[in-house]
Amino acid sequence: MLRDITIGQYIPGDSVVHKLDPRTKIISLVLYMVGLFVVNNFTGYLFVTLITAGIISLAHIPYKIILKGLKPLTVIILLTVGLHIFLTEGGPLLWEWGFLHIYENGLRQGLFMALRLIYLVVVTSLLTLTTTPIVLTDGLEKILKACFVPIAHELAMIMTIAIRFIPTLIEETEKIMKAQKARGADFESGGLIQRAKNLIPLLVPLFLSSFRRADELAMAMEARCYRGGENRTRVKQLVFGAQDFLAYLFIIVFVVVAIFTRLNTL
């Protein structure tokens, strides 16, 4: 159950997407989102779909894993689609039942919104699937620094630690859950309030161990003379390669074409 969480998971590989500089990937992701939100007609979405499929196949990540990442979002996607289908008016009426109406525009809007959400999640998770958390935050730090954010290193470090500890916390949760289950605890049945109460034997030890872990980590970092970002240099410098420039070119063409498909129909 908890193992289904794939946020921040990294799948090792040596595809083109894996090898890209993290900065390229982050900036490309932002530009991709711009393109994704610019398109507003069938031609545009067809184009975006093709490009997205292309990027996924370049990354050599199994489709199964990507679909698994979408699972927790099923409810949100269904809700969005439902709201758009039933609440958007305009165009010819397609279907009517009591107070429920579906108009053509609503159907279109619902479909587009679903696609937008799915592509957004898929490509964002592709970023974390192909980039180790350390490299990712390295790239983020560089970008933040370039934007003159004053505590770029600290922010990046906080993110690194947060991402790094997601699997640890999941593991810890499972362990404590099992330990309490072995003592007859029941996390699966009962009403809402009863269930919330049942979580106490899980949450108290979890909080305690998180604080203990944080304390130990802070101590270990201090022991290795960590003092934030000032005068800090890196062993591994990020360097742009030929593939990065190609990626930029690719994504800029993508955005331009996306804008073009929108203007063309207006």
């Binding site: 199994p62 199964k64 003592r183 030890p205």
Partner: protein
């Protein structure tokens, strides 16, 4: 009634790039009244195996029976199974959460639906089993206790379920020598009181001292399952290959043998070693006086 495992396999995260087989077709029968040691180096599948015995993990292949209940069948009374088979995890003090020792220990039996009176009885008995005084500890906060005391409270919290089988996963990890000794003695007492004990340990001295039967695991398989003494006597060299070892006193005896001492080979506990060495020394003195 025994616990039976038939061709049990377990795969972590199946159908993903992180797929890993933790158990491979394990066959095992655990009879009531036994004292079993379960050893193997880190990642050999000991803890995974332990979690199959009370239904915390369901095998991905094969069958587990506890008292003829098939744990893989739908609708097994898992609470009953967990009452019957107690499992003390590694660092069990990390599971403590109540504000008093009493409530902490009562948590398990309370989940079984016992009355207040029966609960108090259980708590008293469980505390007694781990040699903690009820009047002193019942109202104390478990978080104010020392490491060894916390461990004993956590142990008592499982004992309060009155299990017929008790699985202990490295019960002495991270404890000071005195607490270690106390816990080990208490585990011995528990077995004498009629509880079937399965002790998972890296410490060959403890295993040699306490257990009658030894199960050695390597890469998810059971390599040896025999009387403890026989495993140490016959497979010392192989044990080292698996990242394990023989008891320290046995090493001492072997070292003495190399120096020419005429000692027995099957010496696995400190007491045996003492007797054996004394015997040889006395014989030696006799020889000297005869000359």
């Amino acid at each position: 009634m025994p616990i039976r495992l038939e061709n049990v396999s377990y795969v972590y995260q199946p159908d993903s790039p992180f797929q890993a087989e933790a158990l491979h077709e394990v066959n095992l029968v655990i009879n009531e009244g036994e004292f079993i040691g379960l050893v193997g180096h880190t990642g050999s599948g000991k803890s995974t195996l332990a979690q199959h015995l009370n239904g915390l993990l369901k095998p991905t292949g094969g069958k587990v029976y506890v008292d003829d209940w098939d744990l893989t069948a739908p609708g097994v009374p898992l609470k009953k199974i967990r009452e019957k088979v107690g499992l003390v995890f590694q660092y069990p003090e990390h599971q403590l959460f109540e504000d008093t020792v009493y409530k902490e220990i009562a948590f398990g039996p309370k989940n079984l639906g016992l009355s207040a009176e029966a609960l108090t009885q259980r708590v008293k008995k469980a505390l007694q089993m781990v040699h903690l005084d009820y009047d002193i500890y019942a109202d104390a906060s478990p978080f104010d206790l020392s490491g060894g005391e916390k461990r004993r409270v956590a142990l008592a919290s499982v004992l309060a379920m009155e299990p017929a089988y008790l699985i202990l996963d490295e019960p002495t990890a991270g404890l000071d020598p005195r607490s270690r000794l106390e816990i080990m003695e208490q585990i011995g007492e528990l077995h004498n009181a009629g509880i079937t004990v399965i002790l998972i340990s890296h410490n060959m001295d403890d295993v040699a001292q306490l257990t009658e039967r030894l199960i050695v695991m390597h890469q998810g398989r059971i390599i040896y399952d025999d009387a403890t003494r026989r495993v140490f006597l016959n497979h010392a060299a192989r044990l080292k290959e698996f990242g394990l070892d023989i008891p320290t006193v046995t090493k001492l005896v072997l070292a003495l043998q190399k120096k020419g001492w005429q000692l027995r080979q099957d010496v696995f506990t400190v007491e045996e070693a003492r007797d054996e060495i004394l015997k040889v020394i006395r014989e030696g003195q006799r020889h000297c006086s005869e000359i």
